[in-house]
């Protein structure tokens, strides 16, 4: 047998067992299973009645039951089609202080780059993280929206929307040298504020994009959220490695996917999503049926059914904020920010199990808008709401995982020549 197939059955047996060693059941598998058991029995009973010739009555009854069940669904329950939540660590517990997540080296932040925008002028700046002073102007554009992402070596990719339902991609070296990378099609570009959001893999070879798809006349011109991952060589490969819209996902039109993030090893793209109807305020937390979580795309095995991990039980009334996710060196762990009634948390999410552990719990002001590691992935930088009202601005703090976050600087506007630029989202 072995000689015929050149496959050793004993090796195959051993490899199959090895493949499954890391697979553990989701912690809430029983909670997810129980609701599926009741309808199964109900259908069986209904089938027996139908066999007795009462099909019409059963049909009407089923509709009625469906309506009643739908009406009685508690407001905190996820809507149909949304996966149920994972087990979560106790948020009230004291945040673990030293979990090996962060290193306590002296802070030597290398770069913080900002985009400013006013009168359709945009500039990509490099700021000193400690002081907020402008170190250099890397890129300028006028009449086009601009978005950008960083590679680990400090090279930025800049996207500027064009009017042909595409965006132009440019690599900008740390010294400001710009190299065109071609055009990425299929996304609404420079039309209003819907410019696509994107991320680069740490090695810069992959580009993940979320944004609004181009209007499709065959579908009545409807726009859809689209997610795609492209290869980048000397130019962007126009053929995506992964491409799907929200409606491709099982469970129906599910999420509004937000900013993508690559894991540190480049193997996964993770996007926060939000599904359901409802609102959020700091006093009451989530109202309605909002469920937030993550889409997890394995770029080595892309599929249109990426794993969805709801982040919080709906009863906790917490919301994942869509700003930056932070990946540390461990690709299995990511850092996210969530808001709950009266408090907000910096949490660590285990991508495999879906477990959520609180790292830092702080009052609602200033609001944590996002978090990311510094370029060396040693310290967390926290973006907070600016202390004063205005068209833009950030407040930046650093957290070493042990002490209270240390405030670094507030910045609202930058004057470059005669042009005043206001701030938009930072990355570093």
């Amino acid at each position: 047998m072995t000689r015929r197939h050149d496959v050793d059955p004993a090796r195959l047996r051993a490899q199959l067992h090895r493949l499954t060693q890391i697979i553990e059941p989701a912690p809430d598998y029983l909670d997810r299973l129980r609701p599926r058991l009741r309808p199964a029995r109900r259908r069986r009973t209904a089938g027996a009645i139908a066999a007795a010739g009462l099909a019409v009555a059963v049909g009407a009854g089923a509709i009625l039951v469906g309506l009643l069940v739908g009406d009685r669904q508690p407001p905190g329950e996820p809507p149909p089609g949304v996966p149920r939540t994972m087990v979560v660590g106790a948020v009230e517990a004291r945040p673990p202080l030293d979990r090996g997540l962060l290193r306590r080296d002296p802070m030597r932040f290398q770069q913080l780059m900002e985009q400013y925008e006013k009168r359709r002028r945009s500039a990509l700046l490099r700021l000193d993280t400690a002081t907020g002073k402008v170190r250099s102007v890397l890129y300028r554009t006028q009449g086009r929206h601009l978005a950008w992402a960083l590679r680990d070596d400090g090279t930025a990719a800049v996207e500027t929307g064009n009017s042909k339902c595409a965006f132009d991609l440019t690599a900008v070296a740390p010294d400001g040298r710009a190299t065109p990378l071609g055009t990425v099609p299929g996304f609404e570009g420079n039309t209003g504020s819907s410019i696509a959001s994107f991320a680069l893999s740490p090695d810069g070879r992959l580009l993940a994009v979320t944004g609004t798809s181009c209007p499709d006349p065959r579908r009545g011109g409807a726009l859809h959220w689209r997610v795609a991952v492209y290869r980048i060589g000397t130019s962007a490969d126009p053929k995506p490695l992964v491409s799907f819209t929200a409606s491709d996902l099982p469970g129906g039109a599910l999420p509004n996917p937000a900013d993508p993030s690559f894991s540190a090893d480049g193997g996964h793209v993770v996007l926060p999503y939000e599904a359901g109807q409802g609102g959020f305020d700091w006093e009451h937390g989530v109202s309605g049926r909002i469920v937030t979580g993550f889409l997890d795309i394995d770029v080595a095995h892309p599929t249109r059914a990426p794993l969805r991990r709801p982040l919080r039980p709906s009863g906790a009334r917490c919301l994942v904020f869509h700003n930056h996710l932070a990946f540390g060196r461990d690709p299995a762990k990511l850092i996210s920010v969530e808001g709950c009634a009266g408090r907000q948390h910096l949490v660590e999410v285990d991508r495999g199990s879906g477990r959520v552990l609180p790292l830092l719990t702080v009052p609602t002001q200033p609001a944590l808008l996002g978090a990311d590691f510094d370029a060396a992935r040693r310290h967390l930088l926290l973006q907070q709401s600016p202390p004063r009202q205005g068209p833009g601005g950030i407040s930046l703090a650093a957290w070493d995982g042990v002490r209270s976050p240390r405030h670094l600087f507030d910045l609202g506007e930058v004057q470059l020549g005669r042009v005043t630029y206001w701030l938009s989202d930072p990355q570093w």
Binding site: H17, R43, R231
Partner: protein, 171 residues
């Protein structure tokens, strides 16, 4: 038997067998999220038949449901849903080489037809006999033999499955 007792017995069965069944589902689907979905759907179907099942036969019953549900889902929805024009490891062979090597078997399994894959998983992971596989897949023993034989042949490109070459001795 009161329903509450049935539920308790079923949950105990699930708690005891879930991990192992999940592993089978994972080898069938190659994706943990899908594996969870497949197993949960299969357990829900099993629950419908639970009052008629002998507990000793329950696990085999779930496996049968699992592979048949997998085969039907694969026919209906999963086939062709991988929107990858080219193998993704071409994008960045340096970075993904390690990952590609580790997952070479999973990818090779993923290229097999559903019944062939299920036959191999049952044969070499579950150690089912050909007769048991035939019962689970609802086919003849001869078909199982053919599926396993052709399945092994199609896995021969996986380096880690190659038999060790006997060292050549000088005369």
């Amino acid at each position: 038997v009161p329903r509450s007792e049935q539920e308790a017995a079923f949950e105990a069965f699930v708690a005891a067998r879930y991990r192992r069944l999940l592993h089978t589902a994972y080898l069938l689907t190659g994706d943990q999220g899908r594996a969870e979905d497949l197993l949960q759907a299969s357990l829900a179907k099993t629950w419908s038949a639970w009052p008629r099942l002998h507990q000793a036969a329950a696990e085999a019953y779930v496996r049968t449901v699992l592979v048949r549900t997998y085969a039907s889902w694969w026919r209906r929805r999963w086939r062709g849903e991988h929107p990858v024009a080219q193998p993704p490891d071409r994008a960045a062979p340096d970075e993904f080489a390690r990952l590609a090597e580790r997952d070479a078997l999973l990818r090779a399994l993923g290229r097999l037809p559903a019944r062939m894959r299920a036959a191999l998983v049952l044969r070499y992971f579950e150690d089912y006999s050909e007769r048991q596989i035939a019962d689970a897949l609802g086919c003849r023993v001869g078909t199982v033999k053919s599926l396993c034989s052709r399945g092994l042949a199609r896995l021969r490109g996986v380096p880690s499955l190659q038999p060790e070459q006997p060292s050549r001795r000088s005369p």
